[in-house]
Symmetry: C2
C-alpha cells in the first residue's frame, strides 16, 4: 500500500510543486486547503505524513487545528522558510514524529535534482530517515542541521540577500532612474544584480515580508548590515580612499580565503 | 599612414586591453606608463589620439603633464569610471578636441563585441565620430550622453551596486558565517549574489574605493539607499507585515512596469 502524504495548504505554489513531486515518487497525495472538498483535519487523519505548507503567520493556527487529528504513528512536517518557531510549535502540539524542512528553492524549478532541502530533526527517526532517503534518491542535496543553525545561516542567505535587493529596488525607484537607462548603461555586475531584484519584485511580496519578520536571527544580521553601511559611509563622507581600501581588504581576507 | 593612439597608463589592465583592441583594428599604439622607455609627454606629442588610462585620483596630474605636448589637431580622451570631473579637467587643460569615455566592462572580456562603451562629447566632432564608428564597427554598443547624466546613472549602476555588495561582504564577515555553510545552504538567488560579491572582492580594492569617492552623484544615490534601509527597518522593527508588503508593492509598480 502506497504511503499517504497530506499537504495542508496544498493549493499554494510550493504545495502544488511537492504534490507533483510526491506523486512522481509513487506516493499517494491528499491535499487540503481553504477551498478543497476535504478539510485539513480530514486529510490529516488519513495520512502517514502530514505536511504544513502554509504562510509563516498561519503555521501556529493550522498546527493547532490538525495536530489532534493525526494518527499517533504519523509524522508532522512543515515547509516553512524559518525553522525555530514552526518546529517548536509542531513539537508542542503533536507528541509523535516531527521534522522541520525548508526547500531552498522556489516553485519555478523543473526537478528536485541538484536542489537543496534542509531537514531539521524534531522527534523520531523513522519518518526522518524515510524522507531523507526519498529526497536523496530523487537527486536532492539534503542538509541536516538544527533549527537554530538553520535560522542563523538563513538570516544571511535569505534575510540579508532579500533585504539588500529590496533596498536597492526602492532606492532606484526613489532616484527615478528609468529602467531603459539602467539597461542601456548596464555593466555585467549590475545586469545580474538588477535581474535578481526584478525577480524578487515579480514574486509574492507577502513571502518576502514574512521571511524578513519571522526569522529571529535576522535581528543580528540586520545589525551587522547597518554597521557595515555606517562603516563604509564613514570613509565616503570623509573622502578617505585609504580607509575604504583597508575596509574592502579586511573583508577580502576572510571572505574569499577558502576559495 | 596608420592613425597613432597613445595610451597613458598603458601598463594597467584596461590600458593593455585597449592596446590589444586598437592593434586589432589596424592602429598604431604607443604606450607610456611609469616604467616605459618613452615618457607620457613623448608619446602624447606623437599621437593623433591620446587616451588617459590612469586611476581617477591621478587624472588631473597626468592631464596637466601631457596636455601641453599634444598636437593641436590631436584629441584628448580618458577611460575613467566617472565623467564630470575628468572631462572638465581635459577641457580646461587642452584647447583641442576632447572626448570622455567609459568602457562599461572589465579587462576580463575576450572581445568588445556586444559590450557597452559610453562616450561623452567634450569638444569637436572629428575624432568623436572616428571613435564612435571604430567602436560600432567592432560590435560595441556605443551610448552617447552628457557627463552629468552618465554620472547620475552610474551612481546606481556602479555606486549603489558596489556599495551593497561591499556592505553584504562585510556583514557576512562580521557575522562569522563560514563560506562552507553559505555554499551548503545557498538558494539560487543567494548563490548569484554571493558570486558577485566574491568577484568584487577578488579585484583591485582601489578601483572600487575610487568609484565610491569620485562620483559626485553618489551622494544623492547613497542618501536614497540610506532612506530605503531605514524605511524597511521601520516595518521590521515594528513587526508590521502589511507595511512591508505595501513598501515592496510600491517599488514593484514602477520597477518592473516597463518589462
Amino acid at each position: 500500500m502506497a504511503i499517504k502524504v497530506a499537504i495542508i495548504g496544498g493549493s499554494g505554489q510550493m504545495g502544488q510543486w511537492f504534490q507533483r513531486f510526491f506523486v512522481s515518487q509513487g506516493l499517494e497525495v491528499l491535499v487540503a486547503d481553504l477551498k478543497t472538498p476535504q478539510t485539513p483535519q480530514e486529510v490529516a487523519a488519513l495520512a502517514d505524513v502530514v505536511i504544513i505548507s502554509v504562510p509563516i503567520p498561519q503555521v501556529k493556527k493550522v498546527v493547532q487545528q490538525v495536530a489532534p487529528h493525526l494518527r499517533p504513528d504519523a509524522a508532522l512536517l512543515d515547509f516553512t522558510s524559518v525553522k525555530q518557531v514552526p518546529l517548536a510549535t509542531m513539537l508542542d502540539h503533536f507528541p509523535g514524529e516531527v521534522v522541520g524542512t525548508h526547500p531552498l528553492f522556489g516553485p519555478g524549478e523543473a526537478s528536485i535534482n541538484g536542489l537543496t532541502m534542509v531537514l531539521c530533526p524534531g522527534r523520531g527517526e523513522r519518518w526522518f530517515n524515510w524522507l531523507k532517503e526519498l529526497l536523496e534518491n530523487a537527486g536532492a542535496r539534503v542538509k541536516v542541521t538544527t533549527a537554530t543553525e538553520h535560522d542563523r545561516i538563513m538570516s544571511v542567505v535569505q534575510g540579508l540577500a532579500h533585504f539588500i535587493l529590496i533596498a536597492l529596488g526602492r532606492a532606484i525607484r526613489e532616484l527615478g532612474v528609468s529602467p531603459q537607462d539602467l539597461e542601456d548603461f548596464s555593466t555585467p555586475t549590475f545586469a545580474t544584480l538588477h535581474g535578481l531584484a526584478r525577480r524578487l519584485f515579480s514574486q509574492d511580496p507577502k513571502l518576502y515580508a514574512c521571511i524578513q519578520l519571522a526569522n529571529p536571527a535576522n535581528r543580528t544580521a540586520l545589525r551587522a548590515l547597518e554597521d557595515s553601511v555606517a562603516d563604509i559611509l564613514y570613509f565616503i563622507q570623509r573622502q578617505n580612499p585609504d580607509g575604504l581600501v583597508r575596509l574592502i581588504e579586511s573583508v577580502k581576507e576572510g571572505f574569499i580565503s577558502e576559495e
